[in-house]
Symmetry: C2
Subunit: 227 residues, 2 copies
């Protein structure tokens, strides 16, 4: 499903080059459940942005469903992102002037869903993450963990087959974090593919496999034994 | 040092009232080390904003060092914040167009420190959190955990006697999180007062006492036995 070969990403800041990824190989099959871990600054979000077609590598190839992503136009990439990929950003990236409901509606608007249908789907997605009574709050009228849950609801509302979640429980207490993990567990059981970045051991344990980055390279890539 | 009595905070959203804090009593002595925990949306950040003089309660009283905070002007509050309190925000709140060095310099500029001195102090604060090689990166050129560490460096650069940290390790891998906790440990040993919000057990264990909120009220307030 996802095949990354010798992926490099170098950020250019004036005269300074920052090699965020220095040659990453990664193969992810359909319906796998992967946890990405590693120190702060090791390249996890950069890797997620590349997998999620939000950015392009400096070198290397990325085949998504057999298709070479680097050959696609921006419009094609936007369609793929909208139809196949649900992305929970590490820093949420919500529209500050729109309320929770409207933020979650956005992927449905892009897909051309009717106004009545998308309001209902967005409401249901928010209820699922425990925010049914916060749908008209804007991001600055929500707690940190509530904003994170709006970002999660938005990522899931289009029923994507690939879910990329960057620290989805970083701002959530343990109990709420486990509710979110239950939702992801259900989506995995339905056949979807899940890649999540986390620094918390108990969250990584929901996955079947852990890939650990260090300094822009894969340090460890191994299955988690089932219990 | 910090005395909160019957503190209430009600947010008004049009016709809807959101009671974020519903009568909180809290006494914190000089040099205490307190962890605040509780479910997402239970009022932790609201409480921190009130303690940090960033917001005022709807009801109840707040005495800081024996002084009634509700009687102070905005200018007085700003001076107290700058001199006494270091605040690490849950969502970092960095200036997007300023680099890390300048973001960390801000509290020193406000205090009137000379340009040479403050550049040096800001640089040292960033080195202390492991970002010596990122001082000219702007927030969008930093990883999530690096932005969080810039926010931490900024909170500590003025040597505040009260440190309020809202989920300071939420975006940090365990090893980097422990480095930050070591810094806080050192500051506590020097006689400062630390209040941190966290949802992670192993972070709370650095504190001497845990206050647990639920639905805007204190549910538990107890010491952590020393080991
Ligand atoms: N400006 C606001 N207007 C209306 N409601 C608000 C506002 N800010 C916060 N709230 C509400 O007040 C409640 C408490 O928010 P607060 O940010 O203190 O929670 P928290 O305990 O820090 O949560 P988290 O762990 O998710 O960060 C939440 O239910 C939130 O929706
Ligand atoms: N736009 C950019 N320009 C320059 N350097 C960047 C940029 N974005 C990220 N970096 C650098 O690339 C490296 C990897 O960043 P990335 O966000 O992938 O790390 P991460 O593993 O997600 O870290 P964290 O756990 O802290 O979120 C970091 O050292 C960061 O400073
Ligand atoms: Mg990251
Ligand atoms: Mg909060």
């Amino acid at each position: 499903l996802i095949r990354l070969e010798n992926i490099k990403k170098i950020y250019q800041l004036g005269t300074v080059s920052v090699p965020a990824l220095r040659g990453v190989d990664l193969l992810v099959r359909n319906n796998e459940y992967l946890a990405v871990m590693g120190p702060s600054g090791s390249g996890k979000s950069t890797l997620m942005n590349l997998i999620g077609c939000l950015d392009t590598p400096s070198e290397g190839s990325y085949l998504l469903d057999g298709e070479d992503v680097s050959n696609l136009s921006d419009d094609d990439l936007a369609i793929i992102r909208n139809q196949k990929i649900g992305f929970v950003f590490q820093t949420f990236n919500l529209l500050p002037r729109a309320d929770a409901l409207h933020n979650v509606e956005l992927p449905l608007i892009y897909r051309g869903v009717s106004s009545t249908d998308r309001k209902q789907k967005a409401r249901e997605a928010l209820e699922k993450v425990g925010l049914g009574d916060r749908i008209h709050h804007r991001p600055n009228e929500l707690s940190g963990g509530q904003r994170q849950r709006v970002a999660i609801a938005r990522a899931l509302v289009n029923n994507p087959s690939i879910i990329l979640a960057d620290e989805p429980t970083g701002n959530l207490d343990t109990a709420t974090g486990e509710e979110i993990m239950e939702i992801l567990e259900g989506l995995h059981d339905q056949g979807n593919t899940i890649i999540l970045v986390t620094h918390e051991r108990y969250i990584a344990e929901y996955a079947q496999r852990v890939v650990r980055l260090r300094d822009g390279l894969v340090e460890i890539d191994e299955s988690i034994p089932e219990e």
